[in-house]
């Protein structure tokens, strides 16, 4: 959303962050970012074990999502950089698209959070054999399924309507990814009982459950001490 006034002053030499903060005028008006001031109002706690998403509230949940998107983007970047042996062109194309979506999700949260964002996380994929199709797609399935359960499980913690809708806009794309990856592994497993319960509902997971899994792929451990989880 650009208005005339924004366009007239947002020259190319304005730093990315300040431009987005300025574009964030619209965000603030829509209730997306609660403050229009440029102060950092959500201190991220850095401990010797890693980082903590901070005090309860929407900024914490957005940082939680940002952490997960960082992880997914890094994973698919590696997949596309070192594709498994014998990868068919169509699978490489699909995985490249997913990489691009995850990168955009990451960049979006980074931009939306601005000074309130957690730092870039260092990943650890040493447990994944990227040369092997089953291992790579198995890890992709774990990331996507976890992502869907994470968004579904954290939705009720979001206070702002615009944030909630944004989470909805992203989670359905993650679910599209999850179904595709499952189908690549086993045709017809797009909504199998490991992820969808007897009521036809996708499983959901708490922040603690999700971060425990995510941290097995992170050198920078992520905690959510105000949501009952501290990294081991």
């Amino acid at each position: 959303m650009k208005t005339e006034s924004q366009e007239s002053i947002s020259g190319a030499n304005i730093a990315r962050r300040s431009f987005l903060r300025y574009a964030g005028v619209g965000i603030a008006a829509a209730g997306l970012l609660a403050t229009a001031s440029c102060t950092k109002d959500h201190p991220i706690i850095t401990t010797n074990k890693g980082i903590d998403i901070g005090a309860t509230g929407d900024l914490a949940i957005l940082n939680y999502a940002y952490a997960l998107e960082q992880l997914e983007a890094a994973f698919y970047t590696q997949v596309v950089l070192t594709p498994y042996s014998g990868i068919p062109a169509n699978e490489l194309a699909l995985l490249t698209s997913i990489r691009d979506h995850e990168i955009l999700h990451r960049e979006f949260f980074k931009a939306a959070l601005g000074a309130n964002a957690i730092p870039a996380l260092t990943v650890d994929f040493s447990s994944i054999n990227f040369k092997d199709r089953a291992a790579t797609l198995g890890a992709a399935k774990a990331f996507e399924d976890t992502g869907v359960t994470a968004y579904d499980g954290a939705g009720y913690l979001i206070g702002g309507g615009a944030y909630l809708t944004l989470a909805g806009k992203i989670v359905s794309v993650e679910a599209r990814h999850a179904a595709l990856i499952s189908n690549l592994l086993v045709r017809g497993s797009f909504a199998a009982s490991d992820q969808v319960d007897a009521n036809g509902l996708n499983k959901s997971a708490s922040i603690a459950e999700v971060l425990k899994i995510a941290n097995t792929y992170l050198k920078t451990k992520v905690s959510a001490s105000n949501y009952n989880y501290v990294a081991a």
Partner: protein, 293 residues
């Protein structure tokens, strides 16, 4: 006076203000361009009028209303797959289990939503009268023959896809309405209803992805700058209108960096975010065609 702190100031007086105006974001967006054109002194008055209008026009449907709306959509979807699975020779043997999985989920959604509505003291909506040819009861609509053997890919799957992608949009459009009921229900019920809606929403997205794969289109909606619909079925253009949006949370996401450090394409920008539809938009798309008026 900082114009951009107005919302915060109002929230101190009326904590629900953001919730009330969110569905009227279009009006609020105008504040910024407004500020550039009008003398500052005039702004508070204009804004006050805008607030009155915004609040007056925002009637959040009740939890039961939202659940019954979802139930109606699930009746439509389950009825569609029930008819498809029952149609002789329609679904190829290789795809039968695949489609039956979706059929099961949709029927389970009907049962689940019916039970939730009863559990909160509501009366579940009855199944709508449907016409899967989109003929408003004539049986002679543009998708006539969709359950006839030989028309699986050409008609049945295309209607399936429109229903699934529209279902995703419909659930997404109710998230804020459910949030709008937060103060009216217990914390437990709020968590249950919102999480359930998000969880059904995710399953509809899984179905949409799965049907898209059968049709050979991308599992996600890849729009162009001018057209949301990427299915090639122009009859359902309206169901996809708005998917071409690239502005998220006030940010044009095509300006954000892609994998190689350049700007993001419209294809990636639109595929990365699914867009909501309001209750009235969805009903306008379905009633008078698939749902008999």
């Amino acid at each position: 006076m900082n114009l951009f702190n107005i919302v915060e100031e109002i929230e101190k007086i009326d904590p629900d203000f953001s919730d009330k105006v969110n569905p009227r974001r279009a009006a609020i967006k105008n504040i910024t361009s407004f500020g550039s054109k009008v003398a500052m002194a005039a702004v508070p008055f204009a804004f006050g009028t805008m607030i009155k209008r915004a609040v007056a026009q925002t009637a959040v449907p009740s939890v039961v209303d939202i659940l019954n709306y979802a139930l109606t959509l699930e009746y439509l979807e389950s009825g569609f797959y029930n008819a498809g699975v029952a149609a002789p020779g329609l679904i190829p043997a290789a795809d039968l289990a695949y489609i039956k999985d979706i059929q099961d989920d949709e029927n389970n959604h009907v049962t689940f939503l019916t039970n939730v509505i009863k559990s909160v003291g509501g009366t579940p909506a009855t199944a709508p009268t449907v016409d899967f040819t989109a003929g408003n009861g004539s049986g002679n609509g543009p998708f006539k023959g969709l359950f006839t053997a030989g028309n699986y890919t050409s008609l049945f799957l295309k209607v399936a896809l429109a229903f699934e992608d529209t279902g995703v949009r419909a659930y997404k459009g109710q998230a804020e309405n459910i949030l709008g009921n937060k103060s009216k229900v217990t914390a437990d019920l709020y968590k249950t209803v919102l999480t359930s809606a998000l969880s059904i929403h995710a399953v509809e997205a899984r179905h949409a992805s799965a049907i898209r794969s059968l049709l050979g289109v991308t599992p996600w909606i890849t729009s162009t700058a001018s057209k949301g619909n990427d299915t090639g079925v122009s009859l359902v253009d309206g169901n996809y209108d708005g998917e071409q949006n690239v502005t998220q949370g006030g940010v044009d996401v095509t300006t954000l960096k892609n994998a190689s450090g350049g700007s993001t394409s419209v294809a990636v920008a639109t595929a990365s975010f699914d867009e909501p539809l309001s209750m009235s938009q969805v009903l306008a798309l379905l009633v008078g065609s698939f749902i008999v008026k």
